[in-house]
Structures are given as C-alpha cells and as structure tokens.
C-alpha cells in the first residue's frame, strides 16, 4: 500500500458486464460446491413428471394429451422449490449487504444471480424435458415444441421468481408466502407455454404462443432485475 493511493473513487466501476460476470461466476461456483442440493431439485422434477403416468390410465392418447402440461407444471414446481436459494443465504450471512453496497449497479448484480439460477435449475429442466416426454409417448415434433417453449419460458420463471424471493426475504414462513406470491405470476407462462403444445396437436400455428412467450421474456428481462433490486434494498433496510 503506498501513500499515492488515491483516496477517491479509485477505479470507476466498469459497469454492467463486470457486475453480471461477478455474480454469475460466484453463484455457479457455489452451486458446483453444493451439487447435492441441485440434484435433489432435478430429481424432484423427474419424479413429479414420472408419477402422473403411474396414477392415471396407461392409455396412449391420454398420456400424449396431458404430457406437455404435466412437464410444465413440474417445471414450475421445481423452479419454485429452488427460489429460496437465490437470496436467502446471501441475506443471512451478510453478503447481500455487501452486494447492495458495491459500486456495481445492483440490478446488474441481481441479473447475474438470476442468470446463474437459470443455468443451474432452468437449463437442466429444459435439457431433461425431451427424455421425460418419451414417458408420455410424445412424438419428436411435439418434444421439440415442448422443449423450445420451456427454453423460452423457464428464464421468465427465474426472473419473476426472483422478485418474489427478494420480497419475502426475512419474512417468517417466507417459503409458503413465496409460493402464494409467485405461482399466480407463473400462470400466463404456463398458459402460453403449454398452449403451444395444444395448438400443435390441434394443427394450429404455434407462433402466436411463442410470440407471447418471447414478449413476456423481454418484458421480464427489463423489469424483473429493477423490481428485484428495489425489493432487495427494502429487505436490507
């Protein structure tokens, strides 16, 4: 340490890119160190999807009809299950304070955390979907549509869920409150996501559903980090 050390805003915060990178790298590293937790969430998703064929009749047409919907509901629940992990431990150990006091813009840091959350929970859900769809006898084109819809839809789940996770920080019984708060917000994603498969089965174009999903994703990409950052600041006060 030298005396020339500029006791001023020394390095200007290099902004959004560096902030997103910091949060993604850190959260991915943490996720890798606690792989068991991630495994449990994925296993939950796989098991929920696999339970429905056991509980209903093994009739092929029925299974093929309900398959996409079941996969979507299971994806919703698995995403919900993983949401508390997003901020709760950072809140408890003081990291969230440090994040909020960082010179980096808070919405950018929050975006990085959401991206890491999607990479560790949403992306595996998307990747596993075609395999799980086979249990329902879905044809390859249908598997493709379901997977593509999940690919666009699961980031929306992470983005909307982050708002709820930040809002319920420090609230007693936050977990169940989080479900009440977030599941209604997930409904449009579910309708348009699962609706794409319905449209395809009915021989209708699927593009309207995808347009709405992409529009939702764009709105969530802009709005959710800002809303989440505001909620984090409220939680710290």
């Amino acid at each position: 340490m030298t005396n020339t050390l500029a006791l001023s805003a020394s390095e200007a915060p290099s902004g959004v890119g560096a902030a997103v990178r910091w949060a993604v790298m850190r959260d991915l590293r943490l996720a890798l160190r606690s792989r068991a937790e991630l495994g449990v969430q994925l296993l939950f998703y796989v098991i929920v999807v696999s339970l429905f064929p056991l509980a209903s009749s093994p009739e092929r047409t029925l299974l093929a009809t309900m398959g996409p919907g079941v996969i979507w509901v299971a994806a919703l629940l698995a995403s919900l299950l993983s949401l508390p992990r997003l901020f709760a431990s950072d809140f408890a150990d003081g990291t969230l304070e440090q994040i909020a006091l960082s010179p980096f813009p808070l919405p950018a840091l929050v975006s990085g955390k959401i991206l890491a959350h999607w990479l560790t929970t949403g992306l595996p859900i998307v990747v596993l979907a075609p395999l799980l769809g086979l249990q329902y006898g879905l044809e390859p084109p249908m598997l493709g549509i379901v997977t593509l819809a999940l690919l666009v839809g699961t980031p929306i789940l992470s983005l909307l869920g982050a708002i709820g996770a930040a809002l319920t920080l420090g609230v007693r019984g936050g977990g169940s409150l989080l479900a009440l708060l977030v599941l209604p917000l997930y409904v449009p994603v579910l309708i348009f996501g699962a609706g794409a498969a319905d449209a395809m089965r009915a021989g209708l174009p699927t593009s309207p559903h995808f347009s709405l999903l992409v529009a939702g994703l764009l709105i969530a990409l802009v709005g959710a980090p800002l809303a989440t950052a505001a909620a984090v600041r409220i939680a710290l006060d």
Binding site: M1, N3, L5, A6, L7, S8, A9, S10, E11, A12, P13, S14, A18, W22, R26, R29, L30, R33, S34, S89, A92, D93, G94, T95, E97, Q98, I99, A100, L101, S102, P103, F104, L106, R233, L236, D237
Partner: protein, 204 residues
Amino acid sequence: MLEAQDLTARRGAATLFTRVAFRVDAGRALLVTGANGTGKTTLLRILAGLTMPDAGTVRWRGEPIAPFASSLREDVVFIGHAPALKDELTAEENLRALIELTATHPTDAEVSAALTSVALDAQRKLPARVLSQGQRRRIGLARLRLSRRPLWLLDEPATALDAAGLDSLTQMIAQQLAIGGTVIAATHQAFDLPTERTATLALS
C-alpha cells in the same frame, strides 16, 4: 469527510438515539461506544446508506447522501456483524470475491500478502466452514488491507480477535488514518487507536 446532522433512529416503538451530530475529517477516526442495544449498529448502517434515518442527514464530502447513493458506494468499506463469508468457498476465494465486488482487482501476490499479514496463509485453501470465528474475522481484516477505500465503517471489528489480530487491526486503522482515510468503528470494548486522531461518541 463524513458529517452527520441531527440523526434520529427508531426501531419499532423504541427510540434508539435522537439528534446525533458529529463530523469526522479525513485522517480522523470516530469510535462509537455504548452498551448493547443503544443503536451502534443502526448508526453504522445509516452511515453506510443501508438504513434510512428517521430524521437528519448524512453528508459525505459535503454532499448529502441518499440511501445506496453511488457516490458513497464507491468510497466505503462496510464490515458488518455478519462476515459475508460463504462456507463452501475457501478463505482465498471468499476474500477475492468480496474484493472484486468493490470493482478492485488485486494481483495474486497482493492477495497472498494480505492473507499472510493476517496469519491466514496456511488456511487459504481451506473452506470457510472449518475456520474459527477469529479466523473468519481475519478475512475481514485482509479485506480492509486490500480495498483502497477512503471510508471504513467497522461494526465491532475487534470481536473474536486474539491479541495478535487486535494488533494488526489497530495497525491497519493507524495506517488508514495516516494516509488520510476516515474510520468509524462501533465497539463496546476499548482498543488502542492513535488518541490524537480519535474522537469518541458515546450512545446511551
């Protein structure tokens, strides 16, 4: 220069302090003392911009600051009650993550020098989970050494530190004051700071 004017804080129905005013110039330290529950932590969180005061203003370099103001965030190191460590990460990874969060990129040599200076060089590859309370606090000290910020806000920095740790803390504060930094520390136990540069604020 940090200045507080007429700060008042309430927690629920209880008033913690009213009309607290002080001014800490560059190169000076302020020791905030008081029994448990007198509002030391709240005062520090207000100064850091984490909590809104119920009344009063805080000025940093003459400018009134709003909570989470970016002018303050670029200048402050806040070491709170919670050490902000991740059990899964090693001592070195924890330190590096916290420093990089302040948009500072120390070299490997600087990081290991900082860890050595707080006697953590043997533990650098150990996960924080297995470190003792004192060793966890020492990561915070290493952070102070690496982050080149003019304003230090320290909440009970001496907690769980042994004699050697306390020495290195007071040394670091003395050095920060010598180069024109500002230090505000909340503490309920006395520790030696350069008296000619230190003022005390007793909350009751």
